[in-house]
Every structure is written in C-alpha cells, then in structure tokens.
C-alpha cells in the first residue's frame, strides 16, 4: 500500500491518496501514518482519496471509521473521494454513507470542505 500525502488550502486540509490493497495487513501502517500527519493539525481536516485502492475489505472500513471518529472528536472534518464500485458496495453494506460525505473526485471533496470551512 502506498500513501501519497499532500496538504492544501494553506495546510488546513490533508489529502491522502491510497494506492494498492487495503486489508488488515496494511491497516495499522496506514492508520499510524495518517494519525501522525493529522496530529500536527489544530483542526484536523482529511480527504481520503480511494481511487487507487485495488482491494479493500472490512479492515479498510475500520481505518476509515477510525479516522472519522478521531477527527470529529477534535471538531475536524473528513470526507472520502474516488470510491470504486467494489468499495461502494462495502460502503452500502456498512451504512458508512449515512455518516460521511462521499465525493466522486478528490477535487470535489476538497472544494466542498473549503466551502464548509468558510
């Protein structure tokens, strides 16, 4: 699993693009990397781009929900972008869409977050 991390909007939004297979074996490292980056932000704000995820199981749901809980607990915001069909099916089954905003593209997600922050 590769994690490509950028900051945008004067460092106030973290954009993390995941590439590869997000399973239990990869989950802990992805979680630790994201948490370490989010720790530096006063109000954590994350866009998770999943368009490069070639496989995901419920461990991936755990990573997403885990970040969501931590971020909202600190009054931050999080959304997800680039959801492929297989990931979307897991989102449907788990009801994740009821609690989190899901966007087609990373850019759309960033734009929406910027507007919310104004």
């Amino acid at each position: 699993m590769r994690v490509d991390i950028r900051q945008t909007h004067r460092g106030s939004i973290l954009v993390a693009a995941l590439e590869g297979e997000l399973d239990d074996h990869e989950a802990a490292a992805v979680r630790d990397l994201l948490d370490q980056k989010l720790l530096d932000m006063r109000v954590p704000c994350l866009v998770l781009d999943l368009s490069g995820v070639t496989f995901m199981d419920s461990a991936g749901l755990g990573v997403i929900l885990g970040r969501y809980k931590k971020i909202t607990a600190k009054n931050g915001k999080m959304s997800v972008a680039g959801v492929t069909k297989p990931v979307d099916r897991l989102f449907e089954i788990s009801g994740i869409k009821k609690i989190m905003n899901v966007y087609q593209t990373r850019d759309a997600a960033v734009r929406a977050l910027k507007e919310e922050m104004q």
């Binding site: 297979e21 399973d23 239990d24 074996h25 989950a27 979680r31 496989f55 199981d57 419920s58 461990a59 749901l61 755990g62 990573v63 929900l65 885990g66 069909k85 297989p86 897991l90 089954i93 788990s94």
Partner: protein, 150 residues
C-alpha cells in the same frame, strides 16, 4: 456441467498470508470464468474469514489456518478453519457492527459481508476448539466467447 475439482491450503496465521489466501482462491476458481464482481466478492470473503482466524482465532497463540475450496458444477464451496480460541456466542458474533476488538479498529462487519457476498454461510465454533466458516456460492458463467478460445 463442469467437472469436480478440489484444493486445500494450510498456512501460518500471519497477516502476510491474507493476500496470499485470496489470490490463491481467486486463481483456483478462475476455471469457473467468474465475472470481475464475483471474483471481488470471493476475494473479499476469503480476506474476512482468514483475517478473523488470524486476529481473533490466533490472537494469543501461533497456529495454522486451513482453507478448503471445492468446485462442483458451477457451485463453489469454501471452508476456512482455525484451531484457535473460538467463540461463545455465534449469533451475537454475526450481528452487524458487533466486534470484540474495537481496540484494533475492527468494524464488526466481517460476517455481514461474508453473508451478503455468498449464497450460504454457516459457522461452527466452540471456545478453545476453534472456528469453521462454511460458505457456498454459485458462479454464473458469462456468455459470449472471443476468437479462437482454445
């Protein structure tokens, strides 16, 4: 009607083998000509059951995971077994969002996903004896062939 075929795998209960297990099963059932969607469903289900054996079954011990796969006609049968710690209450474990390991950020969606991606799922488990998940799925052969497919 396709003929019968069978395989079984035994492997160390370490997380490196989660991807190995799903690729192996995908390669085995490829002779049924599954759609991409069916292949993803089966890989996901293997990943869920094998991960459970590793992180729940063998949380506090070393051991092996046992996986069996059988093809009969267009039906695939999948058995994933561990000789680990087992469960007290199977019905509770099957509930969506139920997990005993929130500390590991488990989502509690494993069994729910297995159930919705397969046609049948039964679980056998006993404390300190281990767990066996038995699943079945009918794979529909896609129609239409290309050139000289020999």
């Amino acid at each position: 009607m396709k003929s019968q075929n069978e395989m079984s795998i035994q492997f160390s209960a370490i997380s490196e083998n989660e991807s190995f297990a799903r690729v192996a099963v995908a390669a085995f059932i490829s002779q049924l000509n599954p759609t991409m969607e069916e292949l993803t469903e089966v890989k996901t289900v293997v990943s869920e059951a094998v991960t459970n054996a590793i992180i729940h079954g063998y949380a506090e011990r070393v051991g092996d995971v046992y996986l069996r796969c059988k093809i009969m006609g267009y039906t695939m049968e999948l058995i994933i077994e561990d000789h680990g710690k087992g469960m007290e209450d199977i019905d509770e474990a099957r509930q969506p969002l139920f997990t005993t390991r929130p500390d590991l950020e488990r989502s509690g969606m494993g069994f729910t996903i297995m159930e919705s991606f397969m046609d049948e799922m039964t679980i056998e488990s006993a404390p300190n004896r281990g767990t066996l998940v038995h699943m079945k799925k009918i794979i529909r052969a896609p129609h239409g062939a290309a050139r000289f497919e020999v």
